[in-house]
């Protein structure tokens, strides 16, 4: 099982000091957080994609490529890549490129985004949210799985004899997770392709996550990818830790009360009771997290949100220390002990290459003139 953190890249005023970091400062902070994630022994760093303030992360592959160069083991992912408004051709190219640069330490999580206005900025219409996610992903799959693509659809110009480059590393495309909080269509999509399903698992009560994951597992089995308990499930989660539980509550409360998404509503205590949020000691976080398994089954990836709502970098790095030293080693051991042998581990590039019979050079060598693009035979015929 993999453990990691995910960041939405928000630039938020620290409610305890009234200070707001600059973009430059936050971007550097996120790089430091990613490197620290590897240093303390966690497995995954995932970054969001947004195209409006207060977020900075409009170009996740640029950021992740930099992190790839500064790390050696950390798996890089997104949370989420906008499958609705990005051109699937550009996603195919960008993430295959990143996959090569990071030696396969890349997967991605597709989502529809959290803000309506983003659609028209990229020439789309929010009312087509689900159809865009369906058509764009079908094309993305084709661009990675087939060397030469002829394609036409509703939402972009047709492609004739198109080859997306670079080809996926070793002939195996990045693993894909589909993230959705409330849309069963997206769980259905993940199940159809046998891809992973990720539930944000932060904002709503666990029963909601349970229903979505159960639906995805059942449909995964229906489409013949394995039994329901072999489906690939990832969960989010939100924690704030201090050695002493009271210190955690006292320190986190102002960040909770003023948080952009759920602040100014329920109390920290109520939200902790109703949702998976855990603010407390390492032992409390361990117990709560192990409990997730009771309602989603054995799962493959746990990402924690620890970096948001104006929390200063120093605090976030301390959270990573606590996760790395006291929480994740115990979770690794306990989850592994509970997982039956037939339930797969988190998908890695190496394992997926091995499952396909080993690495192959997937390069499509062009028979064309490098300068003019003309194919030799065609020139001869004329």
């Amino acid at each position: 099982m993999e453990f990691g953190v995910f960041s939405v890249s928000d630039i938020t005023t620290d409610p305890t000091t009234g200070r707001t970091p600059s973009e430059a400062e936050r971007i550097k902070a996120v790089l430091a957080i990613a490197r620290k994630t590897e240093e303390v022994g966690l497995d995954v760093f995932a970054l969001g994609e947004h195209h409006n303030p207060p977020f900075f992360s409009s170009s996740p592959t640029t950021t992740l490529a930099y992190i790839a160069a500064r790390t050696s083991r950390l798996r890089l992912s997104t949370a989420t890549t906008l499958i609705t408004t990005n051109d699937p051709v550009k996603i195919a190219e960008d993430y295959a490129m990143l996959q090569h640069l990071a030696d396969g330490r890349v997967d991605l999580m597709l989502g529809r985004g959290n803000t309506g206005p983003v659609y028209p900025w990229f020439g789309q219409d929010i009312r087509n949210g689900i159809p865009l996610a369906i058509e764009n992903y079908a094309l993305l799959r084709k661009l990675w799985d087939e060397d030469v693509v002829d394609w036409s659809g509703k939402f972009r110009t047709p492609l004739q004899s198109f080859t997306s480059t670079p080809r996926p590393l070793d002939g195996v495309a990045p693993f894909v997770w589909h993230g959705s909080i409330r849309s069963p269509e997206i769980a259905e999509q993940a199940a159809y392709y046998g891809d992973g399903f990720f539930h944000n698992h932060i904002f709503w009560p666990p029963e909601h996550t349970q229903r979505m994951v159960e639906f995805y597992r059942r449909r995964f089995e229906h489409y013949g990818h394995g039994s329901a308990d072999q489906a690939i499930v990832g969960l989010g989660g939100q924690v704030f830790l201090r050695k002493n539980s009271q210190d955690a509550v006292r320190e986190f409360r102002p960040y909770f009360d003023n948080a952009p998404v759920y602040g100014h509503g329920p109390s920290l205590e109520e939200f902790s009771r109703e949702t998976p949020l855990t603010v407390g000691s390492p032992q409390q976080v361990i117990e709560r997290t192990l409990g997730f398994r009771d309602y989603v089954g054995d799962y493959q990836r746990q990402l924690f949100l620890i970096d948001h709502a104006g929390l200063p970098l120093k605090t976030v790095l301390e959270q990573l220390d606590l996760l790395g030293e006291e929480v994740v080693p115990v979770l690794r051991k306990e989850f592994a002990a509970r997982r039956p042998a037939h339930v797969p581990d988190a998908p890695t590039h190496a394992a997926r290459v091995a499952a396909k019979g080993g690495a192959k050079d997937a390069t499509v060598y062009a028979a064309a003139d490098g300068v003019t693009g003309q194919v030799t035979e065609e020139v001869e015929v004329r």
Binding site: E185, E188, P205, G263, H264, E274
Partner: protein, 207 residues
């Protein structure tokens, strides 16, 4: 057995909104019994859920006790909805409750609409404010809306005869609709919440 949910948005204790709600509930229950029914009445006092409703707006989900109130309305065969008039319309608390219901909750459900106010000059509020809301929710609002101003409470036996007549007429209309309606469908269980999700083949075809 049929169930009748009564939603009251009164704020004071005692509240004339709740008083009207209780009168309507009693009259409807009596009318249902006359038609051979054995109604169970469940009252939802929105004041008890005031904070949970505000929290639901912020978080997008209902706390457990609010969930209970929502389920009571969703599972009922008929609903009586009563609000005080605030600034010439239903109160914000009343509207918030209907805002957080899943949008299909009241489709085809018989609903009796009623309001109270401090002056008779608001007497058309049921027609100009409440009816459009419940039309949007595709509920079946009974033809008689019941409005009560202070003077309506002053007649014989506490309730003016004209108001009592309107209560009985509206209750009879609601009971007729409820009696002619099938019992609320039982929970479909496992296939329930996402049972209507189209298969991926349908989604791929743009369905």
């Amino acid at each position: 057995m049929s169930t009748l949910a009564v939603v009251s948005a009164g704020l004071s204790v005692p509240s004339s909104t709740r008083l009207l709600a209780d009168r309507l509930a009693a009259a409807t229950a009596a009318a249902l019994r006359e038609r051979g029914g054995d109604p169970a009445v469940e009252v939802v006092e929105l004041r008890d859920h005031a904070r949970a409703l505000a929290d639901n707006l912020v978080t997008g989900f209902a706390t457990e006790s609010l969930r209970g109130a929502i389920d009571a309305v969703a599972g009922a065969d008929g609903v009586i909805a009563v609000t005080p008039v605030f600034s010439a319309s239903y109160s914000g608390l009343f509207k918030t409750f209907f805002d957080v219901l899943d949008k299909e909750t009241l489709v085809g459900k018989p609903v009796l609409l009623a309001a109270t106010a401090g002056t008779a000059r608001h007497s058309l509020v049921v027609e100009h404010a409440m009816r459009p809301l419940f039309a949007y929710l595709r509920a079946i609002a009974v033809p008689t809306g019941v409005f009560a101003a202070p003077e309506d409470w002053g007649g014989d036996g506490g309730v003016d005869r004209a108001l009592a007549t309107r209560i009985d007429r509206a209750a009879g209309e609601l009971a007729d609709l409820m009696a002619g309606r099938r019992q609320a469908a039982p929970d479909k269980g496992l296939d329930g919440p996402f049972g209507g999700t189209p298969s991926f083949e349908t989604l791929l075809r743009g369905g």
